[in-house]
């Protein structure tokens, strides 16, 4: 019984440990050292540029100091892409986890 209780406590503690510290385990797919956000181009500008280039943007957010965009490329691929927030340079594009472009 003591063993059973100990195992249950380990399971609960492990789950709590991981769920309590999500920031410590950020996605980490791409990191951008882009300085303070005041110097960044806006996400609206990036989305407008991408749409002009033929992309369909579903969603965008900040991840690892980069802009992360979920969308469809002009070629029709559903992708997750990372862009530098100052230069708007394309850094990484992956299709369902498969990297199809990396700078």
């Amino acid at each position: 019984m003591k063993f059973a209780q100990a195992m249950l406590a380990v399971a609960a503690a492990t789950a709590m440990q991981f769920s309590a510290a999500p920031d410590a385990f950020a996605t980490g797919k791409m990191k951008c050292d882009a300085g303070p956000q005041t110097g960044w181009k806006s996400r609206t500008d990036l989305e407008a540029k991408l749409k002009k280039d033929g992309w369909k943007v579903k969603k965008s957010k900040v991840d690892g100091g980069c802009y992360e965009v979920y969308g469809v490329t002009p070629e029709g691929q559903n992708v997750e892409a990372y862009f530098h927030p100052v230069t708007m340079e394309k850094l990484l594009v992956s299709q369902r986890g498969k990297v199809i472009f990396k700078k």
Binding site: F3, A15, F18, S19, K29, G76, G97
Partner: protein, 201 residues
């Protein structure tokens, strides 16, 4: 209140609440399909893991009223896991909206692992009834044991689609700890039995 919770129908309703919320959100704004892919998949995994945790918990704690209560609802949890998996696929297909691209993506590792896991879920879900259990006899148990490879496929699907492992780890670690404990206990009990047999024989 307790009587209400004990009703199977009410338990089904509880399991359906997230799906109802997601469906309402989707019907109001179909663009949300993209945002609903992940949560629907997570609920599928959660129900599968809860269903899978019942056996190791019983092996560790023995017969307990709360475990018997859960055991009586394991079939509902398993079927719910399957149905949330189907919902997950439906949101994905709607979001993709192009059969050519869907076919192209199906060859990607992160995607075919999901399809394979769902195929197992559907087979298990479709036979989760007394008639199938009677008709399939020992094969029914064998089919249900496919939940273990399905769990592995889901873990791979999750990690490779997301490109990170924390979400998967948070969900799977409790199950892994309990299964490990079950195996350790099994060996401990077996060696204790052998010790007793040696002492008496």
């Amino acid at each position: 209140m307790l009587r209400l919770i004990n009703k199977q129908g009410f338990f089904w309703f509880l399991l359906a609440i997230p799906a109802i919320g997601m469906s309402i959100g989707f019907l109001r704004d179909p663009v949300t399909a993209f945002d609903l892919i992940h949560p629907s998949g997570e609920f599928s995994v959660r129900f599968m893991i809860i269903a899978m945790m019942i056996s190791p918990l019983r092996a560790i704690f023995g017969r307990r009223r709360w475990l018997d209560w859960l055991l009586a609802r394991r079939r509902a949890l398993g079927v719910a896991a399957c149905l949330y998996g189907v919902l997950h696929l439906a949101f994905y297909l709607y979001d993709m909206g192009d059969w050519g691209m869907i076919a192209e993506e199906s060859l990607i590792f992160s995607i075919w692992t999901g399809y394979a896991a769902l195929a197992i879920f559907i087979a298990m879900g479709a036979t989760s009834n007394n008639a199938s259990q009677r008709a399939m006899r020992t094969n029914w148990k064998r089919l249900q044991q496919l939940v273990y490879p399905a769990a592995l496929l889901i873990a791979l699907h999750w990690v490779y689609v997301d490109g990170e492992y924390m979400g998967m780890v948070v969900h799977f670690v409790p199950l892994l700890v309990l299964e490990t404990a079950r195996v350790i206990l099994m060996f401990k009990r077996r060696s204790a039995r052998r010790g007793t047999q040696a002492a008496t024989g």
